[in-house]
Subunit: 404 residues, 2 copies
């Protein structure tokens, strides 16, 4: 019997309890031992809840119980979550988390603490919700040099973009509906400005490099400037628009990384990832592209990933599971030097002006759209392109990278 | 240092050597120890090959070398491959294989032998080439009750169907071109009749059930009867046609399993899996659908999966990696009782006759197609549908299951 504690009885935490309860026989069989929810840490009381008597308010009850071998951190944030995680690991208790913010910020430190105390810090649920992606990177693609990772890593923005495309609706209008349905937070900034996706690609690219990638240094653009007009031009050119989080290894120490909307070909496997679904496309030097697709959020999918980590910890008691993510910082290449082709939407009448400063591209005009046109540029350096756009001033109505 | 032997220096075997050589630093780091290709078993000589001096013709040289801890079986077939695998496992040497025929036929027995000798029999490369799917099922989706698995598991047939759709070409014509390009074998029966996909779904469904699923009992239909006309109707109804291998758990002992072409909605994530790519869609009771996509065949992708198994064996020396696949036979439900909606293509003029015997369906007539029409039936039992079709005789020109 292994005692498990859950820190935070919110959406994911209560999901963890539900998964362990509903799939009890399967979970115990796979863990090789019976798992028991011994404690649930929360500030609130839960009168009438079947686990009411497991609720404690003092983390020390958990930390001081030597029979608790595995702790699920489903609190979120980087304050108490960090302290409790650190304290649990220092006592040799393995920690499984869904907290991407904490993993992105303190991943290598907490992994190091776990190693020093012969336990594990696992974070499958921190990226892609229930999609197995951390474990495939750490356990499956071990014979590959990973060259690039590109993901649709945020369900809220993918839902909004899917709706905008299907309904021809404005960003603001779709966001409002998404908030009403609970698909977007009341304060949607972390999602729509790309910060959530940024933390996740920082985690994935750290695993790709084996070194730490600082999420705060990754260039990040959100989707607030995307318009229905952009979707019209995308459609007319056989493309769609997705918020992509990308990382590309340039050498052993250096990578490019960016979160930004991209206009991608309908032939790209990421193009069919719609609604709240997430997907991660991994490019290895032997395998080429492989993709992992599923529900990137939600109570049970996320909890399922936490519980798969719990099972992994139960199977590896006293043994450190390999995870290459050193404290050493990976170098982020100057994003102004990275190259891309771009889609530009510009004011009607400025065709010649645009072509004059960016020669070699292709104009697309759509019947019925008299106010603007699209221009697909050749590949340009980001910095140079930025300057050209500044020069064109308010002739430019929108711009999106084309899939590189 | 761990000595590795490769049995069979053909496409996959030479790929294994290439992956270990090209990604040497990464492979050794992940394995935690240096891997050395010590022997290559083949009947042929390879003069001039850099590994020429590693080639041996007698398997006993390998079996009797106590330093060989890991054997890659890339021979194929169920004769010598079975004997050599069994003998290696009995000597405590782990075996990693790409041989789906052997795994489908002797999986549980060889897993048992491995367990008895504290070593491992791993077969990531036997399904989906380089796509990680065995390990995600065994290590990642451990907290899930797997309810269903649906896959595009054969690259040759998927390539042919993709070409037929895009070019409006006949099966025979596309097959001939695929053979010329090396995408189809000279004797294509195992692929185009669905037998290859059948072995793979037998392996996946055995892991889903934890019990043995006999591939020979799985109802299997190939793609030879699919015509360009079927693709026309598929397109007009927002669908495409794929060869699907499916398994669905009915209870702890019983499953439905089938390999057959299916007309699937463009919204189905499997619809975008084109050319030689493979994908596996797994439905869990907590996570819902997750999908694993990539190159289902080819020298380096397949070899990459074999080498990931080698690394796993290196990490787990003397330790048995959990794999639930008992000898006990799972029960395959009577396929004549399983239900599906169907697409029927029937001779023009027989609309009323078809509707009379299968009421409640929908007729689709396409301009320019005067010789036939399509009929989309309601959900029917397979056995009952079969009888109705017999009754209609040669009025029926084609029939394909609609995605269930």
């Amino acid at each position: 019997m292994i005692k498990v504690a859950v820190l935070g009885y919110g959406t994911v935490g209560s999901g963890v309890v539900e998964v362990i309860e509903k799939n009890q026989a399967m979970v115990n069989k796979k863990a090789g031992e019976e798992l028991e929810i011994a404690y649930i840490l929360d500030l609130r009381e839960f009168p009438g809840d079947p686990y009411e008597d497991k609720v404690v308010h003092d983390v020390n009850v958990i930390l001081e119980d030597p029979d608790v071998k595995i702790v699920c951190e489903t609190m979120g944030g980087v304050g108490a979550a960090y302290q409790f995680t650190k304290a649990a690991l220092e006592r040799g208790k393995s920690v499984c988390t869904s907290n991407k913010e904490l993993v992105a910020k303190y991943g290598p430190e907490l992994l190091q603490t776990a190693r020093e105390h012969a336990c594990n810090y696992l974070f499958e649920a921190s990226v892609g919700g229930g999609i197995p992606i951390i474990r495939p990177l750490n356990y499956s693609l071990t014979s590959e040099k990973i060259e690039a990772i590109t993901g649709i890593l945020n369900g809220t923005t993918n839902y909004i973009l899917t709706k905008m495309e299907r309904e021809g609706a404005d960003f603001d209008e779709v966001l409002k509906k998404a908030q009403e349905k609970g698909y977007a937070e009341r304060n949607p900034e972390a999602d729509v400005e790309g910060h959530d996706a940024c933390r996740k690609i920082a985690i994935l690219s750290s695993l790709m490099m084996g070194k730490n990638v600082d999420s705060e240094k990754i260039k990040t653009e959100g989707i607030t400037k995307i318009t229905p007009a952009d979707f019209e031009y995308a459609k007319a050119s056989g493309r769609t628009i997705k918020l992509l989080a990308r990382a590309k290894a340039l050498d052993e120490n250096t990578l490019q990384a960016m979160v930004a909307p991209a206009m991608i070909s309908r032939e790209n496997p990421l193009a069919m990832v719609n609604d709240v679904f997430n997907a991660v496309l991994v490019t290895g030097n032997m395998l080429g592209d492989s993709m992992y697709y599923g529900r990137g959020a939600g109570k049970l999918p996320t909890a399922s990933a936490v519980v798969s980590d719990v099972i992994d910890c139960a199977r590896h008691q006293g043994k450190v599971i390999m995870c290459f993510w050193d404290k050493e910082e990976a170098v982020l290449a100057d994003s102004s030097k990275s190259a891309s082709a771009f889609y530009l939407r510009a004011k009607a009448g400025s065709q010649e002006a645009v072509k004059a400063v960016i020669p070699g591209g292709r104009i697309l005009e759509l019947p019925g759209r008299d106010e603007d046109f699209a221009y697909f540029t050749p590949v340009l350096e980001e910095g140079a392109f930025e300057k050209i756009c500044e020069g064109l001033g308010d002739l430019i109505l929108g711009r999106i990278r084309l899939d590189a």
